[in-house]
């Protein structure tokens, strides 16, 4: 097998930037839709989890990608301070390279998400407080910025004819949907772990606040079902079109098709664990509410597990895509 140019730091970065961008976008749109989106009184709480989450994976992921820069590695290996901050050169210019545009968008997204998180920092923060204007302004910016970061991670890989596995417009769509889905999973996970309204459904807390809370998680979980549905569609299109394009893309995509080097990891890790398992569990709890208007009640343990497998699946997707793209290339010479 060939050596990899982009290894775990880039895989981790693509995944974490996706989670952060997804969480920022979801949080902003939930905040902007307000109670009108069916979230009743709880939209602010959900937006708060997303806002506090978003900057962390964005910043950690960006830190990881600097580790992958060869100038940084050389600086550490040779003790050469002058190379340590060579990455600043990214911000001394702007050109049409997806990485150049992406770096600027990512930097803006990090700044905006930190500001957005700041408006939610206080425990007393509520709709209509003194930071409301700033909060809404940053939410308006957050939707397009988050989507831009998520899409750019796909374009970054997709821009090269020399890497036929990645060279597909569907990849950007796939990464966008996966970002939103992992962003929702991140928010639901925080909520399940730290949420105070969220008592076990057999407890005696069937009061109003519990109802709004579970209504809100129901809405997020059901939109997650929809997102996972879209993701399965995007994966289907990704494989189908690569396979239909006889030659380089078909040869490249064969590494994730039955018999390929990454088939098991892709179908078990990404599709079964990351998509089918969570969507089936979520449906099990969403359908009774959807069809029979029963109260939505997913036990906390299951909620945590569902979010965890969605996040694992998101990571596996980045892993398989990044590695498969590098071990495949054009045929012939």
């Amino acid at each position: 097998m060939q050596e990899l140019q982009w290894g775990l730091p880039v895989i981790g970065y693509l995944f974490l930037a996706g989670v952060g961008a997804g969480a920022y976008t979801v949080s902003s749109s939930v905040l902007l839709r307000g109670g009108g989106g069916g979230f009743s009184g709880d939209h602010f709480n959900i937006a708060r989890y997303g806002a506090l989450l978003a900057p962390i994976p964005l910043i950690v992921g960006t830190g990881m990608i600097i580790l992958e820069l060869e100038t940084f590695q050389t600086a550490v290996a040779h003790g050469d301070i002058s190379l340590l901050f060579r990455w600043i050169n990214l911000f001394l210019t702007i050109n049409l390279s997806p990485m150049s545009i992406g770096s600027w968008v990512l930097a803006l997204c990090i700044i905006a998400s930190v500001g957005y998180a700041y408006t939610f920092l206080s425990k007393e923060s509520a709709d209509g407080d003194d930071k409301n204007g700033l909060r809404h302004g940053l939410a308006w910016i957050g939707v397009p910025l988050g989507i831009a970061v998520a899409v750019y991670t796909g374009i970054l890989l997709g821009a090269m004819p020399a890497r036929p596995f990645w060279n597909s417009p569907v990849l950007a769509l796939l990464f966008l949907v996966s970002s939103l889905s992992t962003g929702v999973a991140g928010i639901l996970l925080l909520r399940a772990l730290f949420g105070k309204h969220h008592k076990a459904p057999d407890g005696e807390t069937h009061d109003a606040s519990h109802k709004t809370a579970s209504r809100a998680t129901y809405l997020l979980a059901s939109s997650d079902v929809l997102l996972i549905g879209f993701e399965i569609l995007a994966i289907f299109l990704f494989i189908l079109f690569a396979n239909l394009t006889i030659g380089n893309p078909a040869k490249a995509v064969s590494v994730i098709l039955p018999g390929g080097e990454f088939a098991a990891m892709f179908w078990i890790g990404v599709v079964v664990i990351g998509l089918l398992l969570p969507v089936l569990i979520e449906l099990r709890y969403v359908i009774p509410t959807l069809l029979y208007h029963q109260p939505y009640a997913m036990p906390r343990g299951i909620e945590v597990a569902v979010c965890a497998v969605i996040l694992i699946g998101g990571f596996m997707l980045r892993y398989v895509v990044v590695v498969a793209g590098q071990i495949t290339g054009p045929m012939g010479i």
Binding site: W6, E70, T71, R86, S97, A159, M160, R163, G329, G332
Partner: protein, 249 residues
């Protein structure tokens, strides 16, 4: 040879090239005509590699290594061996490789810092090691695997058509050393140059033409088959790249 390694810095190109030139004083004769022509019009450097004349001796690989003190394990220039057939109908062909100095270079279009750029004056694609951040995007974008990270600088590196030599009117080091005259270098814009004549009259091919990169390294008699062609029943093909990565990518 630190001075030559940085000779392509945009910041003080002239001064550094002066230093680089001093280091290569003992090289081959200057084609005076070419040097005079340089000053007047845009040059379009190209190489023709006549694979029929290559004996796989690796003199070019070694000359290039020596010229740039290319560290162990990485190569600006290398020679691939293509073995094919089933005994007794077998053949072994050689494919000398280097950066194609593409006219539509994907390495340039992905470089986020502008460290990689195509020189307007002669079409050579260069990396400025003072700007490059070592992100490796260009290495993934190049369809020819022509790039590597120089372990001394942590920045991208590759063949630059011996910029420090050709701007002085010298031939590239690999061309200078090739005992079979398989490598021929010159200016495509000069209709009387050997490369221009060969490209005009010989059935030249380029590598991976479908990538749309418009390479400026042309081959005569190159064997374009690789392992993927073993899909033809009974066909045995083995490609040996003489690089740490034994497969092409």
């Amino acid at each position: 040879m630190k001075a030559t390694a940085t000779a392509i810095s945009r910041r003080d190109l002239v001064a550094k090239i002066g230093k680089g030139a001093a280091l290569v004083a003992a090289a081959t004769a200057v084609p005076g005509k070419a040097k005079a022509a340089l000053a007047q019009r845009a040059v379009h450097y190209a190489m023709v590699i006549d694979a029929r004349k290559c004996t796989g001796c690796h003199a070019c690989s070694v000359a290039c290594k020596a010229e740039f003190e290319v560290p162990l394990g990485v190569h600006r220039s290398w020679v691939e061996y293509v073995e094919k057939g089933t005994y007794p109908n077998v053949s072994r062909n050689f494919l000398p490789r280097l950066c194609n100095q593409c006219s539509e270079p994907p390495c340039v279009s992905v470089c986020p810092t502008g460290a990689t750029y195509k020189r307007k004056e002669d079409g050579i694609v260069v990396v400025d090691p003072d700007i490059c951040i070592g992100c490796k995007y260009c290495m993934l974008a190049c369809p020819y695997d022509a790039r590597f990270i120089n372990p001394n600088t942590g920045t991208a590196d590759k063949c630059d058509f011996c910029l420090h030599r050709v701007t002085e009117g010298l031939e590239p080091s690999c061309v200078n050393t090739c005992q079979g005259r398989a490598r021929i270098f010159g200016d495509l814009n000069d209709p009387n140059s050997e490369v221009a004549k060969l490209v005009a009259t010989e059935p030249v091919t380029v590598l991976r033409q479908e990538m749309g990169t418009k390479p400026n390294v042309f081959y005569i008699g190159a064997d374009h088959s690789d392992e993927n062609d073993t899909r033809v029943p009974g066909q045995y093909i083995r490609v040996d790249t003489h690089r740490p990565i034994l497969e092409r990518r």
